[in-house]
């Protein structure tokens, strides 16, 4: 497994979904390593050391932005600045940011769901569902009309996504399996953009 190219993610779900998308787009699995950092806080605390790994050439960072895209972007920029990166763009690139600095590993940043709005992995998945999908529309309505709401509004898309997955041919599948079962469309534009960011970041041959 390559340790020159590493992609940091927040959790197992991100990791498995990525593997499913990569497989669908025929990107070789071993061209980079996906490392589960077990949450944003740990990723943030340890990022400066990950960047200084001696054999590292290229490091991707794929994180949720939860309630604040700008907050998360700023937090990452602060760490990168301390690590000696001097030419960080003021705003994230909508197609995924890539930062180059001579003598340092190339850094990629993907802010879930699409580098433009705040959200998380489930908001990204939601963008892989065709708008005319009736089950998705119904799942949204169910969540909206719940008699009692135990989760915060940032978790709306999470609740809706799991509701939607509960009604598939195989109820309650993992995200990765659901991609293979076409419950999510791996060819949708947002998925293409994510894969393309990975290819540009790790200098993989374009397919």
């Amino acid at each position: 497994m390559s340790t020159k190219n590493v992609l940091l993610v927040e959790g197992k779900n991100d990791e498995h979904l990525l593997y499913a998308l990569l497989e669908h787009h025929a990107v070789p699995k071993n061209s980079f390593r996906i490392k589960d950092k077990q949450g944003w806080e740990k990723l943030r605390r340890e990022l400066d050391v990950e960047i200084d790994a001696s054999d590292l050439e290229c490091l991707g960072i794929l994180v949720d932005t939860d309630a604040s895209l700008n907050g998360r972007w700023q937090a990452l920029c602060d760490i990168l600045q301390k690590c000696g990166y001097t030419s960080i763009p003021s705003q994230p690139n909508a197609l995924g940011t890539i930062i180059e600095q001579s003598g340092k590993p190339r850094i990629g940043v993907w802010l879930m769901p699409n580098n433009k709005k705040s959200g998380m992995l489930e908001d990204f998945l939601q963008m892989l569902i065709p708008s005319e999908n009736v089950l998705w529309a119904y799942a949204q309505r169910c969540v909206e009309e719940l008699p009692e709401r135990l989760f915060s509004s940032t978790h709306n898309s999470k609740a809706t996504t799991y509701t939607y997955l509960a009604w598939q041919e195989q109820p309650g599948q993992l995200f990765s399996v659901a991609v293979k079962a076409n419950s999510f469309d791996a060819n949708a534009q947002p998925a293409q953009e994510l894969i393309s960011w990975i290819q540009r970041l790790f200098l993989l041959p374009l397919l």
């Binding site: 340790t3 605390r45 340890e46 050391v49 200084d52 001696s54 003598g103």
Partner: protein, 316 residues
């Protein structure tokens, strides 16, 4: 905790270092990096600094690398200038018309050296350098005599027992050699528990000899520097964590600043283990890297070392 002799390090114009700056140093510093990146040069710079550019140290360094009195086409050129040029960045031609300077020391108060003025603003410190081959029999004798029958002799037993817990005692006894390096020299002997026969330390094992030399050097370097090249050589990885803990403890007790180089992953791991222990967090791994003509340093303090260990991040 006493102030470190070198809280930071800046080297200008010495060997491969056009300008190397290490913002923060610690009490025990482990230098890592690929071959020919300048690990040994860094120790040489520290050695010259510690000795206030002592002439014997200088010629020792030049001799070690076969840089003394090189043949030259111009017979009028002084042998000395021709030899000492190897210590300057890019090995320039030195003359009084070309007053180049080497600067080594903390960022705040460096020592400078030029062939015209010699060393300036330096202060000699206690220092011992242990090259890959260890100390000479004469150096070992001298170091032993300086601490014999003092409490510091206990460090030696402690160090030896890390490898062989059944060591009962250690002493220096005249070698029976009739010729060679050891003729007429006293060499270390040990006695094992439950036996009555002194055994030459060297015959017990190379690792024992290294450990003895580390402890002996530390016991003699109070308020000064210990410099060790390739500290892992001869020491089995299983005893390295204990070796580091002993080095940290003596360095703290006697206010010594330690600089050691290594190639070995096991050695770094042993160091990381030691630094993770309570009271031993004053350790630092310094990775040197070459980018074209420039050498940069990346620092791993206790916090960063512990992350690297847990996350299996390669720091060599």
């Amino acid at each position: 905790m006493s102030q470190l002799l070198l809280p930071s390090l800046e080297i200008k114009g010495f060997r491969g270092f056009q300008h190397l700056r290490i913002e923060n140093l610690q009490r025990v510093n482990l230098i890592v990096g690929k071959n020919s990146v300048g690990k040994t040069s860094l120790l040489e710079a520290l050695w010259l600094y510690a000795s206030d550019w002592n002439k014997y140290v200088e010629s020792g360094i030049l001799r070690e690398r076969n840089e003394e009195r090189q043949a030259h086409y111009d017979p009028k050129e002084l042998d000395y200038n021709n030899s000492v040029r190897h210590l300057f960045f890019n090995r320039p031609t030195l003359s009084s018309n070309n007053p180049l300077e080497i600067s080594i020391g903390s960022v705040e108060s460096p020592m400078t050296f030029s062939i015209d003025t010699g060393a300036r603003n330096g202060t000699p410190r206690a220092h011992i350098i242990i090259p890959v081959g260890g100390l000479s029999p004469h150096e070992i004798e001298q170091a032993w005599d300086a601490i014999a029958l003092t409490e510091r002799q206990d460090y030696l037993l402690e160090a030896l027992r890390i490898i062989e817990p059944s060591i009962a005692d250690v002493n220096m006894i005249a070698s029976q050699a009739r010729g060679g390096t050891y003729a007429g020299r006293r060499v270390p002997f040990v006695r094992m528990n439950g036996t009555n026969i002194p055994v030459p330390l060297r015959s017990v094992g190379e690792g024992m000899m290294r450990m003895f030399v580390f402890a002996l050097a530390l016991a003699n370097a109070d308020n000064g520097f210990l410099l060790v090249d390739e500290i892992e050589s001869g020491i089995h990885y299983s005893v390295q964590p204990d070796m580091w803990q002993l080095i940290f403890r003596i360095a703290q007790q006697l206010n010594i600043q330690v600089f050691a180089t290594t190639h070995s992953w096991d050695c770094i791991e042993g160091f990381q283990n030691a630094v993770a222990k309570e009271g031993f967090d004053d350790g630092l791994v310094v990775r040197l890297e070459k980018h074209g003509d420039e050498v940069t340093s990346t620092l791993f303090d206790a916090r960063r070392l512990s992350i690297a260990t847990n996350e299996l991040i390669e720091i060599r």
